[in-house]
């Protein structure tokens, strides 16, 4: 489920959290799915269990996961929503990126077209997300 890039500069702790968020965002991990235990993950990735524990604790703190005593950790119901909320921060990056493009005199229409491309690809996934979001409310 997770993979670690040991030789990159990003701390393992951050990698786990980021990957977890991405998996929730892309719908691979749905609410109610169980996360691997710290033990099995540590064995699979040859990673310090304490580090993994920290990452898991952070995920729980953010509300992405919840732990059921005796059973393990599961993706929380609001996970997708929270991830989406978190993702909104990325809009800033879009702006920053657009600034760069503008400075390079790329016309706005091309930028909009690129954005549109992303959303049309998502059309397959989007109705599902919409539908489950509607279910919850």
């Amino acid at each position: 489920m997770f993979h670690i890039d040991r030789f990159g500069r990003q701390p393992i702790y951050e990698q786990i959290i980021e990957q977890a968020l991405q998996l929730v965002a892309s719908g691979v991990l749905k609410p109610g799915d169980q996360l691997p235990s710290v033990r099995s993950l540590s064995q699979a990735l040859s990673t310090n269990p304490n580090t993994l524990q920290k990452a898991y604790t952070e995920l729980e703190r953010r509300g992405i996961t919840m732990s059921v005593p005796g059973s393990g950790r599961f993706i929380a119901n609001e996970a997708q929503r929270l991830v989406a909320v978190g993702m909104e921060g990325l809009l800033l990056e879009v702006t920053a990126l657009s600034q760069k493009l503008a400075a390079a005199a790329i016309p706005e229409s091309k930028v909009q077209a690129a954005v549109h491309l992303a959303y049309s690809k998502d059309k397959l996934a989007a109705p599902e997300a919409k539908a489950s979001a509607e279910k919850d409310t």
Binding site: V38, S42, N48
Partner: protein
């Protein structure tokens, strides 16, 4: 928890460790970094009751370790140089260990040896250096201890073996809350393995921190502006270093990444990159900071 308080050890009037203080919490994987001759081996030997402190003490849950057999039964020490009795095999050494450790698990010993592909009946003198380290590790892991001490042992293992050992140790940490203490002169080694790191310098621990904290709270910031600027653009951020080349500035910052990015973004840079630092860089910066601190105190005297 292992606690060292004002721990001092001298050899021939030269202090290897001087007023060393540190705490090693239970269940962590603790890395001890230091240059050759900094005192790592000495510290480990004091912790496992091989040496007696000249001043101060080193205790487990408040009880000094030296000559305390009940405590030592919970400690397993793996030295960089594995010594075995003349013409002995692993099996023979296991018999020595089991005479000392009540909880020695012979079944586990045999199955571990099989996992590592070592013949327990063969003379250890015929083993390569790496195999000897593996043998030492296997013996330590079979003692039923809950504190493992590795003195530069990992440096000699090949990546496959290192992985295997790490997995075994991690399993123990998760299952039994074991504590693992590893010393090395290579930070790279310890980075991946440990969750606590301490720096041993001039006979004392100068820095001890959680690895994740270190790596997440420090980062490099690269920024460029269309106009002239100076260091003051970084006001509001905790700077550890600052260099500027032309219109590009590089700074090492301690703090929250996103908040810092947002802050800098407000100044409308033409370039803004946030890069992670390696642990080595972290230590170098910290060392510099402390180095200055040492100099100041000595100058002041």
């Amino acid at each position: 928890m292992i606690t060292a308080k004002n721990l001092t050890k001298r050899f021939s009037d030269v202090a290897a460790l001087h007023n060393l203080n540190c705490q090693i919490p239970n269940g962590c994987v603790y890395g001890l970094v230091g240059a050759n001759g900094a005192g790592k081996s000495t510290f480990l030997r004091l912790a496992t009751g091989v040496y007696k402190p000249d001043e101060g003490d080193i205790t487990l849950d408040g009880t000094p370790v030296f000559e305390n057999i009940t405590l030592k039964k919970r400690f397993a020490f793996v030295s960089d140089e594995f010594w075995a009795m003349p013409q002995s095999s692993m099996e023979r050494m296991a018999s020595l260990y089991s005479a000392a450790y009540d909880a020695f698990d012979h079944k586990r010993f045999t199955s571990l040896a099989k996992e590592f592909g070592l013949d327990t009946g063969r003379a250890i003198a015929t083993f390569s250096k790496g195999m000897r380290r593996q043998a030492a590790t296997i013996l330590a892991l079979s003692t039923g201890a809950d504190h493992y001490f590795f003195d530069e042992t990992f440096d000699g293992l090949d990546p496959v073996m290192r992985n295997l050992v790490k997995q075994l140790l991690y399993a123990q940490v998760v299952d039994t809350g074991a504590t693992v203490i590893i010393s090395s002169h290579s930070l790279r080694e310890l980075e991946d393995t440990c969750d606590q790191l301490a720096l041993l310098y001039q006979g004392g621990i100068v820095m001890q921190s959680d690895v994740s904290d270190l790596k997440t709270s420090l980062f490099k910031l690269q920024i460029a502006f269309g106009h002239d600027f100076d260091k003051t653009v970084f006001d509001g951020l905790e700077l550890l270093s600052y260099t500027r080349q032309g219109s590009v500035a590089n700074a090492v910052v301690r703090g929250d990444k996103e908040k810092s990015r947002a802050l800098m973004q407000q100044q409308n840079p033409i370039l803004l990159e946030i890069l992670p630092v390696t642990l080595e860089e972290v230590f170098l910066f910290e060392m510099e900071a402390l180095g200055y601190a040492f100099d100041i105190t000595q100058g002041g005297n």
